[in-house]
Symmetry: C2
Subunit: 558 residues, 2 copies
């Protein structure tokens, strides 16, 4: 194999990171992080509306040049690396983060006229201003086109493409009218690198289209004009200026333009891979394959799995999305997630206990001295709603089992356990609908830094918790996509075999702990099913507190 | 009315207080507090057993002389007071606090032989070492004599007379054998003042006998020898050395002996009133009467009401005790309570938030700025079980409705509200069974110092929360009993009319807040009835969190 490097460029919420990777073994040759200069840590806010979150497209453009050049400069300090050895660039981004563009594929926000308009900026994934539009889309689809809802778990989100574009039409019709098209950030950056100056010629990724814009080959692309007319006739008109077809990352998005080649000191014409979402390329960089669940654990979690496209995967109720080719070519990409994981612990430690990082560590150490069941507590992990498997943002937290002696460390542990039960519920649901899960690989800060958390997950789920070798799995996954698109590897599978790894550290379930957690998970499911409105929910609430007390007494005296 | 004063002597958990009161208007002429010198703040502990709590009878004797003399010295500084004007002494105490005594009515613990024996001391109300015996008594009574359980709500407590005496028999049979009889502290002190040196001649109060020893005129006194034989034949033997009859405080316990008259500088022969429990005499001192509920609010609460003995009061399920004459002659005394009120707030502020008195004040101020419903939270007040109306110590706390933004002040307020819902459930239960409640009088530290707490109670219960005029209602109640027994007033009602008062401060319900709390109380009852095992409980859990969120949004934007 000839010497070959690819670049992975990872657009996060507050910064963009570039990574230079050796295609032979996935080793990092150089990396660089560029913090977005605009707004509050890169996010444009509206003091009058806490739901608004936008970003400046100018930051994306400046960040591309700065991060890639920075990573290349760092790589050049490694013996044997030269810019000429870079054979491709891959890009992953947050999403759905659509950008209104003109007919030349230039973001409106780069024009003087629209520079100050919040509606003309990129609509960041966590912008929730389109909540009413999302509810209307769900309602109208449920009545007139329920098939659109099946692959997304039954509810269209305010974070997604159509909610945002429709909301722009409602609150800033001038911006909507000025926009020739709308492009997801994941498609915009590859097109920018490839010098594609016509939105109609962009190769859109099925990952954004399928998970966020109700695109499916089954019904011939985006939702029909008839359906969009029911929302607003101008959205039906827009459909003609979007795209007919979206693609798995089995083809390049283009080749590096002369202009960007000069800016980056790279060969013009090298391959630009299809863009994708950070979680999906993170799964690729973590070694996702049939039977593997990749858990990207942060403030919330994203769970990704793949299933061979040769066998039809049925819709799985409560799973956010199942899209052919959204993670890797030849596989259905399956995405699930929990709305708050790290955020729940942060809420308890910082919000309620008013502590800091040190208290996180103290509570973690104290909680680690407790045995499963010893706190007598069970919690629901719904402080930010439930994304999977109930798909209901209008759910809240619950803690049961408190006495006058319950400590903050016991609650801390109960909240970790609650998120682990939520994780187990997702795995059980996937299996129930024929998606086998026999290996769990975790990535993200918590996976690397919180052994208590990982041990609880192993004990609750009953599988070893493996940890991805790279701390930058999304950028690595984008670099893998570029390596495949550039021909350095024959397939994603082959590239993963060489370029991904696992950490030696992993967490193995204790059979004794697993048995106690099986009982506690039963209690969690009683609460989960009853308060989550699961049909046929069974619970024995009159005995629930007594069972927790008895379990506590048994495990404490053991 | 001739000038007349009485003394009220209040035996608390850590100290004894004497109060000199003017029979004309209830005004305090002098007071003195004596801290028990033994043990940890007056409590003898066993480092090996956290359930053990005893007290030294020697402390009681020393405290009697010191506190009464101290109060008299203080009163003598008032113009117009002379010791010769004291016409009677009343006593209230904790209970059930039984003391093993010899045939001369001397506590065994005063003898050198037993001085060091914990079993020979007074068994303080909160001693829980007899938990197994309590469970056995409940089980055996349920099978063989269910009528004994009806007036005490169905469950015999480890805090009560027979659990303690039986446990002594089990763990210290030598002490049990040496004890000629057992005397409640509430009966012991009046007998001591009156110089009664034979346990058989003590006038026992029906308050201790009826609420704690399963005494009832209906079945001829204490439980039958047949029943006691099922526990242990030696308990059946003991019955002969206890008492046949217990009395309402409608007769004196005796007259002041020469010995104690000399010690106290009072006339020998003045009236000693019948003893009683602190909560009951506290109700008297708070002005309890038909239709009035007196709430003594502290770490836990005791709720007392009376109903005319001329009309038969049915057993009220879940109410701790209904005993003819236990509070005032001519009335059924009705006792209910909540296992943790101040203790739940203390747990949250000190146990979880690790704060102090200042944090109590801060959270109180912050919580006061919230509107009802604004936290989106509902809690169950069961961190220490539920005394009334479920009578189940094996229940625990629950909080529902948390988001990632829930604050410690919101939880603090939700916990106050939970105890208020628990208080409302008691009132509704009493009314349901024909005990009218049209006036609520509160006493205790929280009633006087926490306006937020009192306002929430007014809004939840829908009644003005009145506050007793005296901060020493138990001692005042004992002094009232002495005034009646001595003939300074014709009846308890007449004495209360003159000697009790209300503070000018009171807390009036806001109709708007009441409406919101009616909704929230509905949610509380869904949880209460389901988790409390109430037959026919109705709950709509799938909508519960959504209803709380909607209520929060409505009330926040109002």
């Amino acid at each position: 194999m000839a010497k070959a490097y690819t670049l992975g460029v990872d657009y996060g919420t507050n910064s963009v990171r570039a990574l230079v990777v050796d295609c032979a073994d996935g080793r990092e040759a150089g990396t660089f992080v560029f913090d977005y200069p605009s707004g509050d840590q890169g996010i444009l806010l509206d003091p009058k509306d806490p739901h608004l979150a936008r970003q400046s497209p100018a930051d994306y453009v400046a960040g591309l040049e700065a991060s890639v050049n920075g990573a290349l400069v760092a790589a050049e300090k490694q013996p044997g690396f030269a810019r000429a050895d870079v054979v491709g660039i891959g890009v992953d981004t947050t999403g759905s983060t659509p950008i209104p563009v003109d007919a030349k594929n230039r973001p409106l926000a780069l024009e003087a006229k629209w520079k100050a308009s919040l509606a003309a900026q990129a609509w960041l994934w966590k912008d929730h201003t389109g909540a009413e539009e999302a509810a209307a889309i769900t309602r109208i689809a449920a009545e007139h086109a329920p098939r659109y809802l099946a692959p997304i778990g039954g509810t269209y989100s305010s974070e997604w493409f159509w909610s945002k574009v429709w909301h722009c039409l409602e609150v800033a019709p001038d911006v909507f009218a000025a926009a020739h098209s709308w492009v997801e950030l994941a498609d915009f950056v590859p097109a920018l690198l490839a010098g594609i100056d016509d939105p109609a010629r962009i190769q859109r990724c099925v990952c954004a289209a399928g998970h966020k814009a109700m695109y499916s080959d089954v019904w011939g692309g985006l939702p029909s004009k008839d359906f969009l007319k029911r929302l607003d006739p101008r959205l039906a008109d827009l459909r003609d200026r979007l795209f007919e077809k979206a693609w798995a990352p089995d083809r390049p998005a283009g080749t590096l333009s002369k202009g960007w080649a000069a800016k980056l000191g790279l060969h013009a014409g090298i391959t630009i891979a299809m863009g994708g979402f950070d979680a999906h390329y993170g799964a690729v960089g973590s070694g996702v394959r049939s039977g593997t669940l990749v858990k990207i654990i942060g403030t919330s979690t994203c769970d990704c799995a793949v299933a061979p496209a040769t066998q039809k995967v049925q819709d799985v109720p409560g799973i956010c999305g199942i899209v052919n080719g959204s993670i890797m070519p030849g596989y259905y990409g399956i995405e699930a997630g929990q709305s708050a994981v790290g955020d729940i612990l942060k809420w308890w430690v910082e919000g309620v206990c008013e502590g800091d990082e040190r208290l996180h560590a103290e509570l973690s150490a104290e909680a680690a001295r407790l045995k499963p069941g010893q706190s007598g507590l069970v919690a629901l992990d719904w402080n930010n709603g439930n994304r999977t498997i109930l798909v209901d943002p209008r759910l809240t937290g619950l803690v049961v089992g408190q006495t006058l002696h319950t400590t903050r460390a016991e609650v801390y542990r109960a909240l970790i356990e609650a998120t682990a039960y939520g994780a187990r519920a997702i795995i059980e649901r996937l299996r129930e609908y024929g998606v086998p899960i026999d290996r769990v690989v975790c990535c993200g800060g918590i996976a690397e830094k919180n052994p208590l958390f990982m041990q609880i997950y192993a004990d609750v789920i009953g599988h070893p918790m493996l940890v991805a070798g790279s701390p930058q799995t999304p950028a690595l996954g984008a670099a893998i996509s570029a390596a495949v698109a550039a021909g350095a590897h024959a397939s994603f599978e082959a590239a993963q075999e060489r370029m991904t790894s696992l950490k030696e550290t992993h967490h193995t379930p204790s059979p004794a702990a697993k048995r106690v957690y099986d009982e506690l998970y039963g209690v969690y499911r009683e609460l989960h099913d009853a308060f989550g409105g699961v049909r046929g929910a069974k619970a024995d609430f009159p005995s629930l507190m007594k069972r927790l007390l008895a379990l506590r007494e048994r495990e404490t005296s053991r």
